[in-house]
Amino acid sequence: MTDSASSDLAQPPASRRIDPAGLVIAAALAVLAAVLVWDASRLSSTSMYGMGPEAMPVVVAVGLGILAIANLIDALRGNLPPRESADPKPVLLILGGLALLIAIIGLGGGFILATSALFVTTSAAFGRRAILADLVIALVMTTLIYLAFDRLLTLSLPAGPLERLL
């Protein structure tokens, strides 16, 4: 105990209260382990000798279960590293941009429109307010990328209305 006391002096005292985030992490790991076991139980073991396909998922599930308990103990002891405050707004903005990109690709809007949408939302998430200027930059940049990769390197990138004009 003496050595832990001396090292506590050297650092700012760690918070010794229960961190709810740690409980969520532990619960998520336990759920993941349960999903693995459930999925493995549907597999039929066809191999004559050795391990079937269900063995490894069960091993991983046991590991996840143990780690869920270990993370729970860490959380109860308040051992989670301290973290700074986070601003959820830009995170949601970028995720919105990704959702927009997925929707545009899914609906056949093409590469240029999809990545331009992501560019503008990400740039806004990092504090830019000149949305129109960013949109122009994004359209020019993604068009150049499209031409370089689709035409020069012959990678097939999804084409939409804009790409067909090129």
Partner: protein, 499 residues
């Protein structure tokens, strides 16, 4: 002498004009992307994979060699000029290098890092060329149980032994192992964890995972804490060249850094963090100017940079000879091999010596190119650093999604990319290491198939794992490496209180 012949043959492959061009493009792109703040070498390789999709395997691997070394060098430039190391291996460089840049000695800091990287990279590549055939001879005698035991060692050392928290490291590893289970089981053809979605039957793409965790996760993380602090770029003032005294103070740290970096990198222990910090503390102890440490001592840049590069070459030894990636970057290189259906290992040395030795020879060439390119182009790299943050991260995300769109333009694949981004964000926020997830995904399925082969041969008797002396020893090492961090918790405390 066999090595010389093989290396000469590889050199003949590497100096073909097209291959030289590929190496040049690789070094240039690798540095340009690696220089961007927040982008480490693993992400550099992942982001640039699509560029190589349409090349033949030889050209593509040669370009990889360039990208790998270029990305490493780019990372140290960022560490010196804006004190944001893209990866933990550049942390020691940032300590002294950024202080030097602040004191107007950014030029010599960049120069000693470039020349040190060259010296270390060259020595380590020679070491690799000689060590590799020997290890290959050894590895051809490995049975499936030995491979399985070796992978257990890699799992434990990558996740538990050297991190800040073995529990969080192992948690990351098991998330990766879980992701590795998704898809069709290769032995019985049954779908695991696919939940009836045909897109999941092929399993999780390593590049999708790595780009999601590293690029999208990093962008989300930086965006979430933008209100905290702005980073500042140090202009490169004064002479670029090292003075005679700088040379005198640099050459020994270069060699010592190489001696730390190469062996530790070549062991399946993962990461360049240990050798760089070992080198840093050694130089601090041996220096004639200990008072300068913390204020910009050139030894503190020269040593860790050499160690970093030597260990990067070192991690290629287990990758090429055993197919064992021990860092996130090596895992990305393995993904690069796998896109051509190539599996690194003793067999590849026998079947495609042109490819393997061409790659090793290209590492020499990439090293020379880095030295020739980077000091004159330092002005260009500094300008890349000055891209405003909104455009920088918007551009990173466009390139990150482009890789996935080019490989598989499906809604499911892109949703997985976004989901891995959220996972990467949460892992950064709660201080879980990222690399074990990537290593778990790529090594998990290989470990499973080796274990199942071993048990099939032994008719299901698990004692086979302990009967082979090799496998028994390796499993013992894995067990010690797993238990040691819990026993030696004082070590972690010591490290935490030092910084």
């Amino acid at each position: 002498m066999e090595t010389f012949a093989a290396l000469a043959h590889g050199m003949a492959v590497a100096v073909q004009p097209m291959n030289l061009l590929y190496a040049l493009i690789g070094v240039f792109l690798g540095t340009a992307v690696g220089v961007l703040p927040g982008i480490g070498p693993a992400l550099t390789v992942a982001l640039l994979l699509p560029v190589t999709y349409k090349l033949d395997p030889g050209g593509s691997l040669i370009m990889f060699a360039g990208i790998y070394y270029g990305g490493m060098y780019g990372g140290s430039t960022t560490a010196i000029l804006i004190n944001t190391p893209g990866e933990s291996a550049s942390m020691a460089t940032a300590l002294e290098g950024n202080k030097m840049a602040k004191a107007g000695r950014g030029g010599p800091a960049l120069a000693t890092s470039a020349i040190g990287s060259f010296v270390a990279g060259t020595i380590a590549t020679i070491g690799m060329a000689f060590l590799a055939p020997w290890l290959v001879d050894f590895a051809v005698r490995f049975g499936p149980e030995d491979y399985f035991a070796l992978m257990c060692v890699a799992f434990v050392t990558v996740s538990a032994t050297f991190g800040n928290s073995p529990i969080r490291g192992l948690t990351s590893l098991f998330i990766g192992l879980t992701l590795g289970l998704i898809g069709i089981d290769k032995l019985t053809g049954q779908a695991r964890l696919a939940f009836g979605m045909p897109e999941l039957l092929d399993g999780v793409e390593v590049t999708t995972l790595a780009v999601g965790l590293f690029a999208v996760g990093e962008a989300l993380y930086v965006a979430s804490r933008r209100h905290h602090a702005e980073e500042k770029i140090e202009p490169v003032r004064g002479s670029l060249w090292m003075t005679k005294q700088d040379w005198m103070r640099s050459w020994k740290p270069w060699l010592r850094g190489t001696m730390f970096g190469f062996p530790i990198g070549a062991l399946p222990a993962g990461g360049a963090e240990i050798p760089t910090f070992l080198s840093y503390s050694t130089e601090k102890r041996l220096s004639k100017h200990p008072e300068e440490f913390g204020k910009g001592a050139i030894e503190g840049v020269a040593g860790p940079e050499a160690a970093n590069n030597a260990s990067a070459a070192g991690t290629l030894v287990p990758l090429l000879t055993l197919g064992l990636p021990t860092s996130a970057t090596a895992a990305m290189m393995l993904a690069g091999f796998q896109q051509y259906g190539l599996n690194p290992g003793p067999l590849l040395f026998a079947e495609r010596p042109d490819l393997v030795w061409g790659l090793i020879a290209s590492l020499f060439i990439a090293n020379v190119m880095l030295l020739v390119l980077n000091l004159p182009l330092v002005g260009l790299w500094v300008r890349l650093l000055a891209i405003p943050q909104p455009w920088l991260y918007a551009g990173i995300l466009v390139f990150a999604t482009m890789g996935t769109i080019a490989a598989k333009p499906s809604v499911v694949e892109l949703s997985m990319l976004a989901a891995f981004g959220v996972l990467g964000f949460l892992m950064r926020r709660f201080d879980f290491p990222i690399a074990p997830v990537v290593v778990g995904l790529i090594l998990g399925p290989i470990a499973e198939s080796q274990l199942r082969r071993a048990l099939a041969i032994s008719l299901g008797d698990p004692i086979v794992l302990l009967q082979s002396p090799m496998s028994a020893t390796l499993l013992g090492i894995a067990l010690i490496a797993l238990v040691a961090p819990f026993v030696l918790k004082g070590l972690g405390r010591f490290r935490a209180s030092e910084d």
